[in-house]
Structures are given as C-alpha cells and as structure tokens.
Symmetry: C2
Amino acid sequence: MTDIQQIVLAKRPEGDVTADCFRAETVALPALADGQILVAQRFLSLDPYMRPRMTELRSYTPPFELDKPLTGGSVGEVVESKNPRYAKGDIVMGMLNWATHTVHDGKGLRKIDAAGIPLSAYLGVLGMPSFTAWYGIKHICKPKAGETVFVSAATGAVGQVAGQLAKLAGAHVVGCAGDEQKCQWAVREAGYDACFNHKTERDVGAVLDKLCPQGIDADFENVGGRIFHAVFARLNNFGRVAFCGAISEYQDATPIAGPEKMFTIVQRRLTLQGFIVSDHVALMGEFVNEVGGLVASGKLKSRETVIDGLAKAPEAFMGLLKGENFGKLVVKVG
Amino acid sequence: MTDIQQIVLAKRPEGDVTADCFRAETVALPALADGQILVAQRFLSLDPYMRPRMTELRSYTPPFELDKPLTGGSVGEVVESKNPRYAKGDIVMGMLNWATHTVHDGKGLRKIDAAGIPLSAYLGVLGMPSFTAWYGIKHICKPKAGETVFVSAATGAVGQVAGQLAKLAGAHVVGCAGDEQKCQWAVREAGYDACFNHKTERDVGAVLDKLCPQGIDADFENVGGRIFHAVFARLNNFGRVAFCGAISEYQDATPIAGPEKMFTIVQRRLTLQGFIVSDHVALMGEFVNEVGGLVASGKLKSRETVIDGLAKAPEAFMGLLKGENFGKLVVKVG
C-alpha cells in the first residue's frame, strides 16, 4: 500500500453544496515521522455541522481548508505506528481525514475496545451524535414527566436519541421528519408519541397545536427556520430550547430571520441555549455509562444508513443536507 | 374625602397608545369591608411592561381589564384600615390602581420604613426596576472583569442600574439611549464607558464595532428590534442575553422578526434567557441588602422624572413608550 485516496475541498459552496466543491485525489503515502501513526479508515461519519465548516469564517470549529482533505469523526485501525502509545491493530476513533488513510500524531484519538459492538455505532448511538443528544436533553431540555418535548429532525442521528431520551424521562414527545417512512419509524420503533412529515405538512402551526395540545415545554432544535418559528410560538412558560443545529439555514444564501416577537422570550421566561458537545467532553464518561447501558439493554433503538466507499461520500453528504438519509449516515471506507 | 379619581382602560390600543385608550373617572368611595384598607396614592410608577398588558392575551400578567383602572407599582399611605395588619399612617408599596385612592385587601403590599428615603425611590433604584436590573446582571449576564456588557435603554429605570452594576463588576460597559443628554449622563454620571444615540446613529453595527472592539459578552436587552439584531451578531462565544424587555416591539402592529442566523446561537454557544423579576421575589432581601448598600454609599446613581398629577399619567406613559422620559418615570399623585 503506497497511495492514499482522499477527498479535498475544491471550492467553498455558495448555497447548496455541489459536486464540484469536492475533488478526489490520490496521493503518495508519506513516510511516518517519529510520533506518528498511520490509521486505515473503517468508517467515516457525515454530519450536518460539516456544512458550516465548508464556508463559515466565524464558527466553533475552524473552516475546512481549501485543497486539503475534509475531516470528520471516524473509526479506523492503526496499521503502522511510530508512536509508543499506539500499536498496530489498535482500533481508534477521532477526527480523521475523508480518506482511506490518515497520518496522525495520535492526539485527540481514543482507543476503543470494539468487541461485539459494530464499529459504526461509535459514530452514532455510542458516539458524538448520541452524546450531543444526551447533553442537550439532560442539561438543557431537562424534561419532566408529563411535559411536552419537540424534536426536529426526529430520526436524524442526534434527534433519534434525543426523542428516545425524552421519552424515557416520561415526556410527551413529538417530532418531525422528512418522509412518511421516517415518521413511522419514529413512532413505532423510537417511541415518539407523534411525528409529522414537515415536507408535506403546509401548516406546521396547526399540526403542532393538534399534536402538542398542552404547548411545548422543551424543544431540541436541529432545523431552525419555519419549523422553529412555529415551535417557538408554542413554547410554554419557562420553556427551554436546546439549540443544537439549524440545518435549514446552512444552505441558504439569503439569511433566514429569527422568529417574530422576540418579546415572547420575556413573556414566557424562555431559555434558548446553543451548545456544542465538544465543550463538554468532561462528561463523556457519564454519557457512556448511561447511554451505553440503554443500548446494551435494548432500550435505545438506532437507525443508520451505511454508504459503501469513500468515493460516494460527497454525494451522500449532499443528500444528508437535503434529508435523504435515514438515521445516522456513515461511510464504510475500508 | 368621598370621591376617587381614577384612570381606566377605555379601549385596547392597536399600534401606538393614544389618548382615547384612557378615560378619567370620578367614582364614589365605597365603604370598606372587613379586611380592607384604603390607600391614598403618593407615587405611581409608569413602566414599559404596562404596554403589553394593554393588549396581549398571553402574557406573564393578565391583561388590564376594559373599563377598570389600570394598575401599577405604587407607594401610598394607609388612610383607613379595617385590616388588623395595617394601621392608619402606614406607608405601603405594591400594585395599586392608577387612582388617587385604592381599596385593597392588603395582600401583596409591603410596609416600608421610609425614614430619610424619598418615597419615589421605592419605585426605582430601590424597587422593581432596580431589582430587575440586579437579577438580570447577577443571574444571567454574570459579567466578569474585562468582559464587554451592552445595555440598551441605558438610562431607563432598569438600564441605568444594569449598566452601573456591570461596571461595578469590572466590565467594559456600552449602552445606547435616545438623545444626547441621556448619553452624556450615562457616561458622566453612571460610568458607562460609552453610550451612543440610537436615534441619530444609522449604522448601529458600525458603532458597536467601534465601541465594543472585543465583541459583546453579555447583553442586557430592553429594546429588541434592529439594535438587538446588531448586538446579537456581535455576541462572543458563550455570550449571555438577559432578555428583560423589547420595547421596540410593543407598539408595532406588524411583528418584528428575530435576528438573522439563529444558528449563531449554536456556533457561539449563546444563552438567551427571558426573565420576569416577579418570579424571583425570594431574592428580594438579597437585592435590598446589596443594592441598598450601594445607594446609601453613593456608588449607585439614579435619575428619575417626576410628573405632577394623576391626570398627566396617560400622556407621560405615551411619552415613555417613545423614550421621552429620562430615567425612572413616576407620577406624583397626592
């Protein structure tokens, strides 16, 4: 093995991400320096937050660099090591390139003992998206039994866990998703009390009034835009919004305004809190204990879409931004 | 004394409050029932939050009732009592009618020992507006030394205290107000580092960039609308917004949308929190200790506008909503 296949950022998108934003390259494998390891990618996670990184200048993570490989949460195997902390054969997770192999200094990678657990789970129900859901529900939404929780992108990698955790807390949980099949899965498998199709439902306010007759106490927000506006108008006193994402804004060249009547925040004593789970890595152990247990006992369902082959990552990512995936989207690289 | 002069809500405003929303009435003084007291009004507080109460159906306080007296924070003297908890001559504060006298059951009133303190101060720097400022700064904005805090309506009853408390916490404090005289007072007396005139300043973003070169860490929000939008866009990572009011929205028949790019809330991990100080009366003692001490030692300046005579309350209130008052607006009733 002497070559690396990788996908670099060829240009920054304006509006929708297009295929020419990516370029597949083959580069020669460099010799490892002392301290470096070579990781062969097994699975690459594709996540909506990558879209802002393709353009935003002021974001929580630095933007991707032009003509450099994009990066993403990944699981891979150490195939060569000049770092005493890693041995050949170690399975690691962390940020790796959109590539068949990544040369890495090992910092920020975590060794995992993957016996009996599908590796892709470390990018989903046992990984960052699930940790994100857990943090937002537990530390911001804080649902109480009998309260109503709304989750936009109800079956997405994050939303599917958020909804189930809210349900386990005893809340009435309502979500929305982009097709009937997802809505059915949300209710039948993930235990949502209701889930509506936001692509066919023209009057989001009316359907929310029907499905959330007691108003909304907490919103796990992944989408933003018109759905958020309708939810915002129906938040109850002391309502909480865990602002996790706003996928409806990522591809819009013309900015979407916030909800009308910001005074509502005062009237109803709302808290809108944005969060990024990487600020809370100190809680990772607690998350793994709690959610790992739920996964092991079968109390937490998960759904993923696996794309075969790195070359398909750009197309899959473009589809993700349009809601074409179902559940956690991962690319099987090697 | 057999008559009460009072001002009732004659009609609900649409858009700007107009004089015909009010009606002055003279009513006969009813005989007191057991448990009741008669309070002769000394000072009536006029506050922006009263505007939503004139129309809003879903607010934190029930709307004013048509053809009934409006109410407001007041200081008065008990002139007759059939309630064993109150004696003739007691000075009380609490919610009383826009009237020369209020028949009251005594619940929710607080006796004050006003020796040496101007009674109107209990409606301002020692009262609800100041308590509001203290809560928002201390529990939401939480300014640290060196941080930048922005206060809209910088010299209003609430803002003038918020700005000074932020300054005492060591922050760089910038505000805006509606005329040059207010801006000068903010800087010279209240110790703001800078204050700009939002009525003459066309490009709020540019002036904020100049006056807040390090961005904004906390916003004590009283105004909403375009000023808030500009502040929002300049909030730093982990920025806090204490949402106290949105006076720019109160008179607008066409709702004002929120700021563009709600995803900013995620990117910068912002917290926008609405609050109403009446939810936090348990902290009143702590407030009185802290802020009372600052007032007594001269560390907290205050500015008020006193209007003479109940009959002028409607006009003064209409002016308040246009920013025509300077500092805390009170009506000297008796």
